[in-house]
């Protein structure tokens, strides 16, 4: 994966040196092994901080609204779908974007691997299919629908040329596990989940990185230290509703729970599935968001 990092850094540096963009949004090394954080590179030197690996999970499109001028952004297929939604909503202008598209190598669940600073940039789905984050399966090995330059890891390219690039199969998904429960059991499960995490520093991560994330979350102080579990539950469901048809991506919140448990992002995955069924629409699709259409269903 190092060659991807080098290509992305080179492209970011070039864009910043030529003043094609005022900032490049990418990933940098996260606070813990097996995590990444958003990186805002304003100068060619800043570009050195950018990384890309199998733990680059955050949907960076959430940082686009409000940024004026031209922006470079590292974008997976899901990020590009979100960008398309933001564009439909008039919150970004594609002309102002330089998309460094990433042919998606998948995301690994750090809890299932022995990850350290030395190996975190080299671990791949190819070698560790058992650690693939299930939500990454849909886009695995896919190209974004739109980009200005496309980057892909060499191993994917090699396997692709050899005709050996195959998606791993998943056993029971989290949604399926959740479906096995009655509503009452499901409710109790989430209530205990939020009760367990109500005092956690990870509260912020209990909210999916949505469309209106970033400073908006801070501004409205949705994240409070003294949330009750019930309030957290409500706020999370609210954000899931808010993001329907608009956002996609991964939730770092899932890292707060043991990997054998059903992760919090399952609620959003479930809701997104139902949204697709009800409206035949997923983010980035043709036409306006179905929730903005005045037509009968």
């Amino acid at each position: 994966m190092n060659e991807m990092r080098i290509t992305i850094q080179r492209e970011a540096r070039r864009l910043l040196q030529l003043n094609k963009v005022s900032v490049v949004i990418g990933y940098e090394v996260g606070p813990y092994p097996g995590t990444t954080a958003p990186c805002f590179a304003f100068t060619p030197d800043d570009a050195q901080r950018i990384v890309f690996n199998s733990f680059s999970s955050i949907n960076l499109s959430v940082y686009l609204p409000g940024i004026t001028g031209n922006v470079g952004i590292v974008a997976t297929p899901a990020t590009v779908r979100s960008i398309k939604e933001l564009e439909k909503d008039g919150l970004v202008n594609r002309k102002n974007l330089h998309i460094i598209g990433v042919k998606f190598p998948g995301i690994l669940d750090a809890r299932k691997l022995n990850v350290n600073r030395e190996n975190e940039n080299t671990l791949s789905v190819n070698e560790h299919p058992e650690a693939l984050w299930e939500w990454a399966l849909h886009d695995l090995y896919e190209e974004p629908e739109d980009y200005d330059i496309l980057v892909e890891p060499r191993w994917m390219n090699d396997l692709g040329k050899a005709g050996k690039l195959q998606k791993p199969s998943l056993s029971r998904t989290s949604v399926e596990r959740l479906e096995q429960m009655s509503h009452h059991e499901r409710r109790l499960y989430w209530m205990s989940y939020f009760e367990k995490h109500k005092h956690s520093d990870h509260n912020k991560n209990l909210f999916p990185s949505t469309y209106a994330g970033g400073d908006h979350l801070e501004k409205f102080k949705y994240i409070k230290s003294a949330y009750s579990s019930s309030e957290l539950f409500y706020e999370h469901l609210s954000w899931v509703y808010q993001s329907m048809g608009r956002a996609s991506g991964f939730d770092l919140s899932d890292l707060t729970e043991d990997f054998n448990q059903i992760p919090l992002s399952t609620i959003r995955a479930w809701a997104a599935r139902e949204f697709r069924k009800s409206f035949n629409y997923r983010p980035g699709g043709e036409g306006p968001n179905p929730l903005l259409k005045k037509e009968n269903i």
């Binding site: 909503d89 409710r187 409205f220 409500y234 899931v240 509703y241 929730l291």
Partner: protein, 773 residues
């Protein structure tokens, strides 16, 4: 601290089983925000309102909560009283204790009293969140757009113009007149239709305050009440001159005859023609489909250079209007589907329209039979309704047939329902029967077949109860009036609804006729409902009164969209999809509110607020904070020793709530477990509030709004339906059974359906058990 006064009305005869004194005592004791509670005999009287006004003044009350009967009709009077008492009229909450509590829970007095207390307590907490609102000055364009140049449109135009306002009259046809132009006479006085049409047309043509765009169509109407931007497309006539010398001679040299589409094909026209003699404006045209016909080339050689311009294009004209009157008329039912009546298969079977100008010879002996219900009340082959028009048309034509033939024609009218409710119409029919010997048979025609020299009509005589066969020479079928082909398109342009028959929907057929879901748009004539000339004139005058009230308006209601935070305005873009014209901030007054008046979206529903991802927009008077206060308090302190479901209800201001009041008036009881909160509209109801209800004690949520696609706010409730469909997936994943939410879109007559659904929902939530979150 706010001084909140609670005023309880006994509504004259009392509100059994409510004990108002006990409720008042409890309010004073438990709700510290209340400064005074007053009990009145009846607040729906002048004395009651004056007493309330005095008490507000003497106790220096700043916020008012009223517990009384039906809100629907009295809220305006209460607001005026508050204004007179020096309290801002928007610092008010009204709770209907009669139809929403006493009448529907009379058999459970304890629960009824508890519910009344909780509703009043919640209203107190809600009113505390209210802010004083002021009406704002607004500029209103002193011009009215009238769409349609028939009798209704011309009448409306003249009335407005005579009052000194400007009118833009847009007519699709090349000449004014509308449907009347195709008629020969009018009932019940049998005047010449041509006289009426010409007089009206000439008056409009000559009026200095009326601009006529003939042969034009409205392309778009944007904006809001008081300030509409109108785009009109003027179609090319291809003829530049108003007068053409030697017109008759030129016509003779043009060889091809075309059916004149403006006389229903009754007459022929050359390639250059006027729709009919004496038309207004008296201009010539060439139909666009004929512009390359060889006769046009010939014509060009016969007229001065420049008279004919084959390259003439459409022109767009921009106009402004403060109000819009829709008067584009209606269509007539296509009879070709009525094969049992030989419609279209025999040249001896006519439609009433084609028979209008049929001439009989003096003393001609001919037997004529009119079928007055061809397709009426026949949803399978025709339409599901019946108007007066077909029967009255038959009677009129039968009288003229008698007149033309010196009484020699045998005239029979077969009708199933004697629709002659309008004053003078029954007398008109009697005149036909008694003076002109027109035979009226109450019956139903089942079949018309050809015979050697005429037709044979099979019918069931409803009076005699027997089948009959009548030999006649000719049959005339009187079709029903149907919605205009353009109704769908034009209703979409101004974002107003249509009823189930396709006609433009009025806000309320009896209380607000001619008004629509767009508060700046009014309807009259046949485009709203099938009617005759009298109805067209009456409705035109009603629409004029409403339009002129808009023009006279100087201030707007304070309900308007506001952005709460400029910094977050960039996130509000999605709401533009829902209410595109309402998102102009920082307008010329420099204030950060949306465009000039109370309108958000063309329909004023507030639909754009849940479309904002940040909820950075709010509707003054209907702020989210007030709803949240209600939801957070509606179930607090409720004793739930023996578990019973707690169902938070949301009822829309114009659809659901009045319907529930009707339910109360009819004393249809339902469980006191329902506590209904009044909301602006289902489209304004944020799904997050429904979600929040579950986290504030509710075991179920019941939402009731107006009819889907045709409520007060037209089709905005489709948005609500979509939003709540999307919410289902969130609830399901979170472990909240989607069956705990019921959304009902109902029409005002569906009381039984609502009662049934309330009962079923109560049982469903009872079976699901407590939510416990």
């Amino acid at each position: 601290m706010a001084r909140i006064g609670v005023f309880l009305s006994k509504e004259g005869e009392g509100l059994d089983p409510l004990n108002l004194q006990s409720i008042a005592d409890r309010l004073v004791e438990e709700v510290q925000e209340i400064s005074h509670v007053f009990i009145h005999e009846d607040l729906n009287t002048v004395e009651g309102l004056e007493a309330m006004s005095q008490e507000i003044k003497s106790k220096d009350v700043g916020y008012v909560v009223i517990g009384c009967g039906s809100i629907d009709q009295r809220e305006e009077n209460i607001r005026k009283t508050l204004n007179q008492a020096g309290v801002n009229e928007y610092l008010l909450e009204v709770v209907n204790l009669k139809e929403m509590v006493a009448n529907v829970h009379s058999e459970e007095p304890e629960k009824a009293n508890e519910k009344a207390f909780q509703l009043l307590k919640t209203a107190v907490i809600k009113v505390e969140q209210s802010k004083p609102l002021e009406k704002t000055p607004m500029r209103v364009e002193q011009q009215v757009l009238v769409v349609g140049g028939g009798v209704a449109g011309m009448t409306a135009s003249l009335r407005i113009a005579d009052a000194g306002y400007s009118v833009v009259l847009v007519e699709k046809a090349p000449a004014l007149g509308g449907k009347v132009a195709s008629l020969k006479n009018l009932w019940p006085k049998l005047e010449e239709a041509d006289d009426l049409m010409r007089n009206l047309s000439i008056s409009c043509h000559q009026h200095e305050n009326i601009v006529i765009y003939d042969y034009s169509e409205v392309k778009s109407i944007d904006g809001v009440r008081g300030d509409f931007d109108v785009e009109v497309v003027r179609k090319p006539r291809f003829v530049q001159s108003q007068k053409i010398a030697d017109f008759d001679k030129i016509q003779e040299s043009l060889t091809t005859d075309f059916p004149n589409k403006y006389t229903n094909g009754r007459t022929k026209a050359k390639v250059l023609y006027q729709p009919y003699a004496g038309c207004v404006p008296p201009l010539f045209l060439i139909d666009p489909e004929n512009i390359n016909h060889p006769d046009v080339k010939k014509l060009i050689t016969l007229v001065p250079d420049g008279t004919v311009n084959q390259d003439e294009k459409e022109k767009i004209v921009h106009e402004k209007a403060g109000a819009v009157i829709m008067a584009f008329g209606a269509g007539m039912m296509d009879l070709s589907g009525l094969t049992n009546l030989a419609a279209g298969n025999s040249d001896k079977v006519h439609s009433a329209a084609s028979f209008e100008h049929f001439n009989l010879e003096k003393d001609q002996e001919i037997s004529l039979l009119w079928v007055a219900d061809a397709g009426s009340n026949d949803p399978k082959n025709g339409v599901a309704y019946a108007s007066e028009v077909p029967l009255m048309t038959c009677v009129k034509q039968a009288i003229f047939a008698k007149k033309m033939s010196n009484g020699k024609a045998q005239t029979t009218i077969v009708y199933s329902d004697r629709r002659s409710r309008t004053k003078g119409y029954e007398e008109f029919i009697k005149t036909a029967e008694e003076k002109y010997q027109v035979q009226m048979i109450r019956g139903a025609v089942s079949n018309i077949t050809s015979r050697s020299n005429g037709l044979s009509v099979s019918l069931h005589n409803l009076i005699q109860g027997q089948e009959q066969k009548l030999p006649v020479d000719r049959v005339i079928l009187a079709p029903e009036v149907i919605a205009h082909n353009d109704a769908k398109h034009l209703s979409g342009i101004v974002d107003i609804g249509r009823d189930e028959t396709g006609f433009l929907a009025e806000t309320h057929p009896s209380l607000e006729p001619c008004a629509t879901s767009n508060s700046g748009v009014f309807v009259c004539g046949d485009c709203a409902s099938p009617g005759d000339i009298r109805a067209a004139v009456l409705t035109a005058e009603s629409a004029v009164a409403k339009a002129m009230a808009v023009l006279a308006q100087k201030t707007s209601e304070p309900y308007r969209l506001k952005q709460k935070d400029d910094q977050l305005a960039r996130f509000d873009a999605p709401a533009k999809e829902v209410a595109p014209e309402s998102f102009q901030t920082n307008d010329e007054s420099g204030m950060n509110y949306t465009r000039l008046n109370n309108v958000f979206g063309k329909t004023e529903s507030g639909a754009s607020i849940p479309a904002s991802p940040t909820r950075n927009i709010e509707l003054a008077g209907w702020e989210l904070s007030k709803s949240i206060a209600e939801i957070e308090n509606i179930w607090t302190g409720s004793n739930n020793g023996n578990w019973e479901p707690k169902i938070t209800g949301f009822a829309s201001q114009y659809g659901g709530y009045p319907l529930l009041e009707t339910l109360g008036r009819e004393e249809v009881s339902y469980s006191p477990c329902f506590r209904f909160l009044r909301v602006r509209s289902t489209a304004h109801l944020d799904p997050l509030l429904v979600l929040k209800s579950f986290f504030n004690g509710a075991d179920g949520v019941f939402i009731i709004g107006g009819p889907l696609g045709k409520g007060k706010f037209h089709n905005d409730n489709y948005l609500a339906k979509r939003r709540f469909k999307a919410l289902e997936g969130v609830l399901d994943a979170g472990g909240i059974e989607p069956d705990r939410v019921k959304i009902l879109f109902v029409d005002s007559h569906q009381i039984d359906e609502v009662a049934d659904q309330l009962h079923k929902f109560h049982n469903a939530v009872s079976n699901l058990g407590p939510l416990g979150i």
